[in-house]
């Protein structure tokens, strides 16, 4: 029997097994009963509702979640229904279930062997006197063709197993049949039923001997180098780092639509896209929350095209607009096409760094020296140092002045707070969602920067 190591590939299997083992604990497990089935009595059965209750108690979860978890246990064949064994469903009532024998656990007997399946189908065929139907008939015929040279062995095994089964008590026979049937329902599901054992494309952690990732001396040397470097790294105390999350989350909570809602309404909930129209990248009057966010960090200001535009206006009043232009040009270089690198570096040099340049930027002499040297061999990161210098300058200097400026205070004062949308009382007055032009329809920006897509009917809709 071929084995993978299903426990390692599918860690959820071992966890499910631990659950069903706990369920069978004589003291703490699910209540076991004897179940009468026609004239036989089957021991060690559990009721569906008891399974659900046990899961609720054990994991402190809701009934819905417990039913869902229990259903997964049944779908993976760890529990099977006694009465309707073809239907792997967990009913939260007195429907009797039994725990699958470990012999038939997926982790014991995986992948399912073709030979075993052939024997199983042959037994069924014999019992039904040749009247197999549907996908089982198809598989039977396929297997018969495929392993016809050993078919005698298959039939012999099948007959032997049937003979041995006849010698058992009726109750045992029934249980073994259910166990086997469940195993095959899980490993060979009927058409239309997705296989719970499907894992998607193979991953290398499961297969041995993938040549390119053999753990050779190179690998360990690299690992050790990495550890040595990491040992010298400067770390920050946990308390400081964690406090930062509290600050960030509380500062941003009012801006988080899922946490705090959004005004006038969340478009997904009311089908009204006014929220998007009011927050479009280039509205005339931004919302108050939006303008507030520009004050959270320099990064937030720059990320918003409207914020950036207002900051540029402010810089002009301070005669330092070339700093932002330089920074933008460097961004374009860093994220631009490889073929444009040389031309861009040249253009940036001419416009911002050359002596007497039109928009000369004031960088400290050390950085300037290093940058000019680097320009001998231009590459996309050659302006990183200069860009960082200018960025920090703007962040520490101009940005803090911007936030204190009359311009920013005016923006805050004039910003709108959208009124909350009135709740619709009559369901048939529900607005149909507006369609909007795809960004792919708009003319692309030449610089390759993200084109701010208008996401609502800004032009000529009359507004709301």
């Amino acid at each position: 029997m071929a084995g993978g190591r299903p426990g390692a590939q599918m860690p959820h299997l071992s966890k499910m097994e631990r659950v069903v083992v706990s369920m069978q604990d004589p003291d703490q497990g699910v209540e076991m009963r004897n179940q009468r089935l026609r004239i036989t009595v089957i021991p060690h059965t559990v009721a569906g509702s008891d399974v659900v209750d046990w899961l609720v108690q054990k994991y402190c979860i809701s009934e819905e979640e417990a039913l869902h978890l229990g259903t997964l246990l049944v779908l993976h064949g760890y529990l099977y229904p006694l009465r309707r064994p073809r239907s792997l469903v967990l009913r939260p009532d007195d429907t009797p279930y039994r725990f699958q024998t470990p012999y038939f656990w997926t982790s014991t007997l995986w992948p399912a062997a073709e030979l075993d399946y052939a024997i199983y189908l042959t037994k069924k065929n014999i019992r039904k006197q040749g009247a197999l139907v549907g996908h089982e008939k198809e598989h039977y015929d396929q297997l018969h063709r495929k392993i016809s040279h050993t078919w005698d062995l298959v039939v012999m095994q099948a007959r032997e197993q049937l003979r041995a089964a006849k010698q058992r008590r009726k109750g045992d026979r029934l249980v073994i049949a259910c166990q086997e049937q469940t195993y095959w329902l899980v490993n060979r599901p009927p058409p239309g039923v997705p296989s719970v054992l499907e894992q998607g494309p193979e991953r290398s952690s499961c297969t041995a001997g993938r040549v390119q990732m053999t753990k050779n001396t190179e690998f360990y040397k690299r690992e050790m180098e990495r550890y040595r470097k990491a040992l010298t790294r400067a770390r920050v105390k946990s308390s400081v780092c964690l406090e930062a999350y509290l600050k960030f989350s509380s500062q941003h909570a009012p801006h988080d639509p899922i946490m705090s809602g959004c005004l006038p309404s969340n478009p997904w909930v009311t089908d009204d896209d006014t929220y998007w129209t009011m927050n479009a990248p280039s509205v005339t009057v931004p919302t108050k929350l939006r303008v507030e966010r520009w004050g959270f960090s320099f990064q937030e200001l720059l990320e918003d095209p409207l914020g950036r535009a207002h900051f540029m206006d402010f810089l002009r009043t301070e005669f330092s607009a070339e700093n932002l232009s330089f920074w933008e040009a460097c961004e374009e270089l860093r994220h631009g096409g490889q073929a444009q690198v040389h031309a861009m570096v040249d253009a940036v040099y001419q416009q911002f760094l050359a002596p007497g340049a039109a928009c000369w930027v004031n960088i400290d002499s050390r950085t300037m020296e290093r940058t000019l040297e680097g320009l001998q061999q231009p590459h996309r990161y050659v302006l990183d140092d200069a860009q960082l210098h200018i960025y920090m300058l703007m962040k520490k200097d101009s940005y803090s002045r911007f936030l204190k400026s009359a311009a920013y205070k005016d923006l805050l004062a004039q910003a709108v707070i959208p009124p909350e949308a009135k709740r619709r009382v009559f369901p048939f007055m529900r607005k149909l969602p507006h369609s909007s032009p795809s960004p792919a329809l708009l003319p692309a920006s030449t610089s390759g920067e993200p084109v701010a897509a208008a996401s609502g009917p800004e032009c000529g809709d009359g507004g709301t």
Partner: protein, 353 residues
């Protein structure tokens, strides 16, 4: 000679044990500055109220398992890819399909929307990442303008445009990540260090840096410098494959989702794991994670068909969302945080708000 082989084995074994002891030292160093746990710090924070999120849109149209999705910057369009090779662009607000293309391979495990909204990238078992410009010209077949950009030696598991349409970052089953120039297909930088398949990546929202994080089947999450190709930080606390990594909105931390049924939070400045999001009743792997806009909530899609919502600060589970009928394979919060979208092996995508 026989003795050479023996010698090499001894060297390998001693290297391995040396690496192990260095790793141990690193753990000790990291522990020295760990003076408090996140949930302790978060005791002061108000608990979250009742949480109601529902499916607001269901996108039906894929004929097979949905494997990946990404939002457009316009906050309403999405691209999704599936096992049967179909890649679809939807206006998820109206649920209209706007574009569809069939890839010449199955299991398209990665897809991404370009920042301009004018193109998409995708790939999977073809070992490549291809870029398709989005066209509304009825006479043009989308597949005609396809550009083959990335070439790996195993499946493509994840891809993402950087700040522009002109560069793509990819992760692959061949154990590497790579940065490519879209126009020429030139390899700009490659990232070696994972010991097994790389399954996911996310770009840092950092203001100055060029870094990204990747997660793989070697149970490691690694942070890379895009410029040098070097791994600058690595974390190895998961017990199984890492399926998904996503930065916390401030960029100072990232979350991961793994087959070990846990999600974890790693702080980059403290250089350690600072939180584990797990529950005994959650047995199946987490396939996909993303933060709400403020970083207070972590949405995680699982292989048991559910989505769990975690309070990032307190470490507790806030809500469990049912609805999908097979495993949740992909999950992303929309760019303005008004909703999140989940894709599933049940062939559908759902938008929740």
């Amino acid at each position: 000679m026989a003795t050479d082989g023996l010698h090499e084995n001894q060297t390998l074994a001693s290297l391995k044990s040396e690496a192990e002891s260095l790793k141990g030292k690193l753990e000790e160093e990291r522990a020295k500055l760990h003076d408090v746990e996140l949930h302790q710090v978060a005791e002061r924070v108000e608990a979250l109220g009742q949480f109601v999120m529902k499916t607001r849109r269901t996108l039906k149209g894929h004929g097979n398992k949905v494997l990946c999705m990404d939002w457009c910057k316009d906050k309403r369009r999405v691209v999704s890819s599936s096992q049967d090779g179909k890649v679809i662009v939807w206006d998820s607000f109206t649920t209209n399909k706007e574009h569809a293309v069939t890839m010449p391979c199955t299991w398209v495990m990665a897809c991404a929307y370009a920042p301009s909204g004018c193109a998409i990238a995708c790939g999977g078992l073809d070992n490549k990442c291809s870029v398709y410009p989005l066209t509304f010209d009825k006479n043009e077949n989308m597949a005609a303008k396809k550009k083959s950009v990335a070439m790996h030696t195993n499946y493509l598991s994840a891809c993402s445009f950087t700040n522009s349409d002109m560069q793509i970052l990819t992760a692959s089953g061949d154990g590497t990540c790579a940065l490519w120039d879209v126009e020429s297909g030139q390899l700009l930088q490659s990232f070696h260090g994972h010991g097994a398949d790389v399954l996911c990546l996310d770009l840092a929202p950092s203001e100055t840096g060029n870094t990204f994080v990747s997660g793989g089947c070697d149970k490691k999450a690694m942070v890379w410098d895009m410029r040098s190709g070097q791994c600058v930080q690595a974390f190895e606390t998961h017990e199984s494959d890492i399926n998904s990594v996503r930065y916390y909105p401030s960029g100072d931390a990232f979350a991961s989702g793994s087959d070990d049924a846990t999600c974890r939070l790693y702080d980059l400045r403290a250089d350690r794991e600072v939180a584990i999001y797990s529950k005994e009743s959650i047995i199946f792997g987490a396939s996909s994670v993303d933060f709400s806009l403020s970083g207070r909530l972590l949405f995680a899609g699982y292989n048991d068909y559910t989505i769990n919502v975690w309070d990032v600060l307190k470490g507790s589970r806030v809500s469990i969302l049912f609805g999908h009928e097979n495993r949740v394979s992909t999950l992303r919060v929309s760019p303005d945080g008004t909703a999140f979208c989940s894709g599933s092996w049940d062939h559908t995508l759902r938008v929740w708000a």
